[in-house]
């Protein structure tokens, strides 16, 4: 998985990208809640929400194709869970199974697009700063900041380890080599833990007292 593709459009000079991150975060949450709370059979509301989403996608400059590809990745999960819940929904009595299932699928799709679009038009670091200013506990936000900082470092480290393992082992793929793979996970854990300790020591040396200070 290429993680660096996540924010490809976040720094574009487009209308949505220029908005305040706090506004975008609040609007996205309100939109998702509104979509989820839309009752079955309110076609007008659902259509309006869909149109709004299409408008926002158009405004954002993110190619719809890219969003569609990511949505397809989740379609199986959405479909499976929809078929699991839809027969049990009380609304089925009035609308029939197909209508209920399609409504659930549409709601999942719109809410999914809203969250993915939010990150596509807002750099994650800006989003986290906005969360902090909206009152999310500082410990959680800075945990997320550190996580985001080392996410890419660790996935790249994992990539290098996988490459190194491939270069040294001659195995048919698909064999049950769980011993090797758990070794990989174990080494990754040790490296992550020790990196955390090293970073912490280095930060202490520079006067770290537990609060993150940023320039913006």
């Amino acid at each position: 998985m290429r993680l660096d593709a996540l924010e490809r459009y976040a720094d574009l000079d487009a209308p949505l990208q220029r908005l305040d991150a706090r506004l975008k975060l609040v609007v996205a949450v309100v939109y998702v809640v509104a979509v989820v709370a839309t009752p079955v059979g309110w076609w007008g509301t659902l259509a309006a929400e869909g149109l709004l989403m299409a408008f926002l996608v158009g405004l954002s400059g993110v190619p719809p194709r890219e969003l569609a590809v990511r949505w397809l990745g989740f379609l199986v999960l959405f479909g499976f869970l929809t078929m699991m819940v839809a027969p049990a929904r009380p609304e089925r009595a009035g609308h029939g199974l197909a209508v209920v299932a399609l409504t659930l699928l549409a709601k999942d799709t719109l809410a999914f697009l809203a969250t993915v679009l939010l990150v596509q038009v807002t750099p994650f670091r800006t989003l986290l700063a906005a969360m902090r200013r909206l009152g999310v506990p500082a410990v959680l936000v800075s945990t997320l900041q550190f996580m985001y900082r080392y996410l890419f470092v660790l996935t790249e480290e994992l990539d290098r380890m996988v490459t190194a393992r491939r270069a040294r082992t001659f195995r048919r793929s698909g064999r049950l080599d769980w011993g090797l793979l758990t070794g990989l996970v174990g080494v990754l854990f040790l490296r992550a833990f020790e990196r955390g300790e090293r970073v912490h020591a280095a930060m202490l040396a520079r006067g770290w007292d537990g609060t993150v200070r940023t320039l913006d």
């Binding site: 979509v35 945990t143 174990g186 990754l188 854990f189 990196r195 955390g196």
Partner: protein, 341 residues
């Protein structure tokens, strides 16, 4: 299993959201108290680790699918229950926002299932087993049993949330399906967790979380009565769910009787009852082998799974403790073998 947005009823989403937020606030406070200014750095790198570790795919033999580590119990065993829950919360938030994996409105439910029940609850199962067996073997057997039960417990909580979003009488059907699937997933989780723990015990045993390490310095914080009761409660819940898993199939043979009792005697389902009359058949569409076979398979999976987890755990524990004996005892303060004595 990350719940998407529309799967849960808004009322259920709200209730689980409030519960999840309260649980996260409590976990954050506990972690801060223990780690101080180390908190965010260590939690951040550990969350990044769990995220990266979930990308390592474990091939499932001849099948064309593969599984991966969930990491809740592993995080709790290495960092302690509350830090484990916070790590899972960070992973869930990033997966939700960056990848759209798991709904924004279902974050509370997902954290409840995987963070509070999966990691902190898993620790409550792990801790007594580790204390009872002791040493490196205790860590591995406890960790594997906790991994297996935490996946089952999380799927049980998921079933409750799903059932609360629809007809309550579907609970047994959903529960037996979910636990059947998650009995297999939990088996993988237990084996991976056990192997990774074994690896860590052989290389850096001093890193395993010591609940008593701080208690020695600060006697007031010795396992409080509340914590002990909490552990007993969660362990009891785990056993109850395992029993329910085995009993569910026998109950589901008579879903109409159950529905009759609940509907008529308690009057809970009266308004929903007409819905069942016009189309009773689609309910059973998913049951490829018929209701009885699914029930039997669920029960069998539960029994076989528990047995396999304990046999593999015992084998792994033996391997590690034999290797451990040959080596000089780890000299790091608070090491495992010191604890076992």
């Amino acid at each position: 299993m990350h719940i998407p947005n529309a799967v849960l009823d808004p009322k259920v989403a709200l209730a689980t959201g409030v519960l999840g937020a309260a649980g996260l606030a409590y976990s954050l406070r506990m972690v801060e108290k223990r780690l101080g200014e180390r908190t965010t750095v260590l939690m951040g790198t550990m969350a990044a680790f769990v995220f990266a570790a979930q990308m390592v795919n474990f091939p499932l033999g001849p099948l064309a699918i593969s599984g991966h580590l969930l990491g809740g119990v592993l995080a709790a065993v290495m960092l302690g229950p509350w830090a484990g829950a916070v790590v899972i919360a960070a992973v869930l938030i990033v997966q939700c926002l960056l990848f759209g994996d798991g709904g924004l409105t279902a974050l509370g439910a997902n954290f409840l299932n995987m963070g509070l029940i999966g990691a902190a609850g898993g620790y409550a199962i792990y801790a007594p087993i580790r204390r009872a067996i002791g040493g490196r073997g205790g860590v591995i057997v406890g960790g594997m049993a906790a991994a297996w039960f935490s996946v089952l417990l999380a799927s049980g909580a998921f079933s409750v949330e799903l059932a609360a979003s629809g007809h309550r009488r579907d609970f047994v059907r959903i529960l037996s399906w979910m636990t059947l699937v998650h009995a297999a997933i939990g088996l993988g989780e237990a084996v991976i967790t056990g192997l990774v723990l074994r690896f860590i015990l052989l290389t850096r045993p001093d890193l395993v979380y010591q609940a008593d390490a701080s208690a020695a310095a600060e006697p007031a914080e010795a396992p409080t009565r509340l914590a002990a009761w909490f552990q007993v409660a969660v362990a009891g819940l785990g056993v109850a769910l395992a029993v329910a898993t085995f009993l569910a199939p026998f109950a589901s043979e008579h879903p109409d009787g159950l529905e009759f009792v609940v509907g008529e005697k308690l009057g809970l389902l009266k308004d929903e009852a007409p819905a069942t009359l016009p189309v009773p058949i689609p309910e059973y569409e998913l049951k490829l082998f018929g209701p009885d076979a699914v029930g039997a398979a669920t029960a069998a999976a539960g029994i076989v799974g528990t047995l396999v987890v304990f046999v593999v755990a015992a084998l792994l524990a033996r391997v590690v403790s034999r290797t451990g004996r040959d080596e000089p005892a780890p000299t790091a303060p608070g090491g495992i073998s010191a604890h076992a004595a």
